[in-house]
Amino acid sequence: MPSTRFHRLHRLALVLGLSVSITTPLLAAGPPDDLVLDGDPEVGRLVANDRAKGNCVACHIMADAEGPGSLGPVLIAIQTRFPSKRELASQIWDATLKNPEAVMPPFGKHAILTQQEFVDVVEYIWTL
């Protein structure tokens, strides 16, 4: 009997372990903890406006950008809307962390931007 019980527990553990291992990649993390947010806002402005890179203006109204889209919120008074630069970085890294239904592409998680481009964009958006 003990061996059967062991099997039972073993299998249950296996199934639960499996379900955890299946869901774990979905509980993705934000920017790496060791990512230093000290980018160049001027470079970030260029990346943010590049159609093949940030292309922020496709969805957001922001200063100095023409023909903006209207899917996302206006990028203004950012420092009153995010408690820290890291919170902003997390939103740009993978917006679905906060809201699973978020439409915004995960610029960091999916490596749409390189890490350098990413920190530069964060720096620029933080100044808006």
Partner: protein, 120 residues
């Protein structure tokens, strides 16, 4: 076959393919032992990227540029630019992994709740 069993068999196939490819990826290491380690590393990175791409494709999750990146990595390697080839191949591999995870996570994609509330 139900939808789920089709996915399951595709996953199984994807796993088998990537296993085979993974083994194949290691082969050049041995075969190219006499050549410069950089070249063998580049080839191994490219093989690993190709395996990841095929695995993503097996579940319908391949991204647009992954195959192009792998082709570019091959050209770089052929030109002897191994470091650049490895970097590009690694990016392509990451795309394959992300695309695979994405497709798996979206298997049960459904109407948004604001259109159809499934919890009622």
């Amino acid at each position: 076959m139900t939808e789920d069993s089709i996915i399951a068999s595709r996953l199984k196939r994807g796993f088998r393919n990537s296993l085979i490819l993974g083994l194949l990826a290691v082969l050049p290491l041995g075969a190219a032992w006499s050549e410069t380690p950089d070249q063998s590393q580049a080839l191994a990175s490219i093989e690993a990227a190709e395996a990841a791409r095929q695995r993503a494709d097996s579940v319908g999750g391949e991204w647009r540029d992954t195959a192009t990146m792998i082709e570019q990595a091959k050209t770089l390697a052929a030109d002897g630019r191994y470091a650049a080839a490895i970097e590009l191949a690694n990016d392509a591999k990451r795309q394959g992994e992300l695309g695979y995870d994405q497709a798996l996570g979206e298997q049960h994609a459904d109407f948004p709740a604001y259109v159809l509330d499934r919890s009622r």
